[in-house]
């Protein structure tokens, strides 16, 4: 978990450099402060499960094995990116065939909330095909106000679909604070009306997040139906790089900076003797150089050929394939 969280952070830091060099096309959305919960929730899944991440779930993508180069290709709108330069950032899709040892990955569209009914359909379709699969979909506090979120969650609840929704209360939806988003104080109570289990967890405590996620994922896999995890966390930067987030009170940021999930987890690892400080430093060096090297490879990749603009709208010309390159972590199996 430490490796994936570190890798997510280092990829984003490398992206910041590329953004400042105007090599990132469009916006750059950081998950600073949320890498821990993103990794720890996905870590509860099997490699063959389905994830529907949002822009701040770089950690989930790394945990499921997406090669970092895929992320850089996407952010730089390259021809060899998963979307062939047609769509942004982490909007990637991986649809393996039955029996392949790969995760189903369906990136978001910008109408946040839409992922929830689609996630329900993925788990429903998998069940109909006799495929053992749990779907996990992340949703921000803002998007839990959409109709699609509620319709999808209700449908999943009624159909007892193996779907675990991770609702991230990171305190702001762009500039709008949570108290203007909902009149409840605990985001997990969104699920109460649908009669499904819901729990709130300290999102900056990776072990606590993993415990809840593992329990609810296992429950869903055993036929227990949908569930929702409420994540208490903080978005440590603006909505995107252009946003200086001056609307966020400084003391709030300072309070949460002290609770940084990666620092907290690394302290725990060292204090309990699970890992030596040196081992963690080695991982830090590894993820940093890996991110830099993957970014370099992606930079060398060509931009799309304008002549391809009309291709791939309908079936038949097989222009893009819904596949990303997957890699095993150096710690896999350990």
């Amino acid at each position: 978990m430490y490796y994936f969280a570190r890798l997510a952070r280092d990829i984003e830091e490398r992206l910041v450099i590329l953004f400042r060099q105007s090599k990132v096309i469009g916006g750059l959305y950081r998950s600073l402060g949320q890498e821990g919960e993103s990794v720890a929730t996905a870590y509860a899944l099997r490699r063959t499960d389905a994830i529907l991440p949002l822009i701040r779930n770089m950690g989930a993508l790394m945990t499921m094995g997406v090669r970092p180069k895929e992320i850089f290709l996407q952010y730089m709108a390259k021809a060899e990116s998963n979307s062939r330069g047609r769509d942004l950032n982490i909007h990637v899709v991986n649809l393996p065939a039955d029996g392949e040892e790969q995760p189903v990955i369906v990136g978001p569209i910008s109408m946040l909330g839409d992922s929830i009914p689609v996630a329900a359909g993925i788990a429903l379709g998998a069940r109909m095909r006799g495929r053992d699969l749990v779907a996990m979909a992340w949703i921000g506090d803002g998007a839990t106000s959409t109709g699609a979120f509620h319709e999808g969650l209700n449908f999943a609840a009624v159909q007892k679909i193996p779907l675990v929704v991770v609702a991230e209360d990171n305190k702001y939806a762009y500039s709008t604070p949570i108290e203007k988003q909902m009149a409840i104080t605990r985001i997990d109570e969104r699920a109460a009306a649908y009669g499904i289990p819901h729990e709130m967890v300290d999102g900056n405590d990776m072990l606590a997040v993993y415990d809840v996620a593992k329990r609810l994922v296992d429950r869903a896999r055993e036929g227990g139906g949908a569930a929702l995890i409420g994540i208490d966390t903080m978005r440590m930067q603006g909505h995107a790089q252009h946003d200086d987030a001056r609307y966020v009170p400084k003391p709030l940021l300072e309070e949460w900076a002290a609770k940084d999930p990666i620092a907290r987890y690394s302290r725990w690892l060292v204090e309990t003797g699970v890992a030596a400080k040196q081992e963690l430093d080695d991982i830090d060096a590894m993820t940093k150089s890996y991110a830099a090297e993957e970014a370099r490879l992606a930079e060398e990749s060509p931009m799309p050929d304008p002549a391809t603009v009309a291709r791939g709208v309908y079936a038949g010309d097989d222009f893009a394939t819904p596949r990303v390159e997957l890699v095993k972590s150096p710690f896999a199996g350990s």
Partner: protein, 324 residues
Amino acid sequence: MAVITYLEAIRQALFDEMARDERVFVLGEDVGVYGGAFKVTEGLQAQFGGARVIDTPISETAIVGSAIGASYMGMRPVAEVQFIDFIACAFDMLTNFAATSRYRNGAGVPIVVRGPCGGGVGGGPFHSLNPESFFLNTPGLKMVEPSTAHDAKGLLKAAIRDDDPVLYFEHKYLYRRIKDEVPEDDYVVPIGKAAIRREGADLSIITFGAMVYTALDAAGRLADAGVQAEVLDLRSLAPLDREAILQTVAKTSRAVLLHEATMTGGIGGELAAIIGEEAFEYLDAPVVRVASVDTPVPYSPPLEAAFLPSVEKVVAAAKRLVEY
């Protein structure tokens, strides 16, 4: 071959396709136990079970959204929208999610979204719509609207087997009024192919759906007056059969574009543009549209009759062209 109704033809296509391919399933409001508001899916759940004929909450976004997700897993969902007017509640899912999916990441969305469209039955503003032009400006979607029982079955089979999202509009006025010969054997009506319903040399009436019958009635009246009208039934609205459109205009040099949706921004404008751009030299008269009045669909019968295109309006438009 048996003579069956338009509605029975749709139901037959569903039964056939579900029996042929275990990946095909149906979901929607009241489609299971009740058999659908119009009884299109009657008997389907008894035959195939509740897992493949799913009664959903009143939740068009969840219906279409979960159909998209299930299609990603290799299923072939057929989603029913109880009245096609309610497709607006799933507009985002269709236009933003489904239509863009293949272009974005190569992930095809082989779903069918079907439902009853059209007026003439006193349904009022929310049970009478013809929404095709809402979707015409969305690349990635296909749209069909059959006018005969034969096409209703063949087009639905084609739609279910298609690898892209297909909107299937069935005209509720035709459900039990139209009967024709429908093969029991497997066949499809290819998407993107129009059909000539009546041959004529003097002008073309280009239309689809229930308006095919309005056009045929008008053509009968025109024949009495010595004018031979050709009636082209588009059958598919996306993609359009441009070749058939241009051929009939090249033959007759005069075109009436007839549709039940309201005039402004309707599909007639697109047809006029195609004809204007590609068949201008063939034209002997302006291209004329006959469509519903630019208002919401009114409820009371005299108002709805005034709203909808009529045989008289088509005949008047045709005469204007012939006399031009």
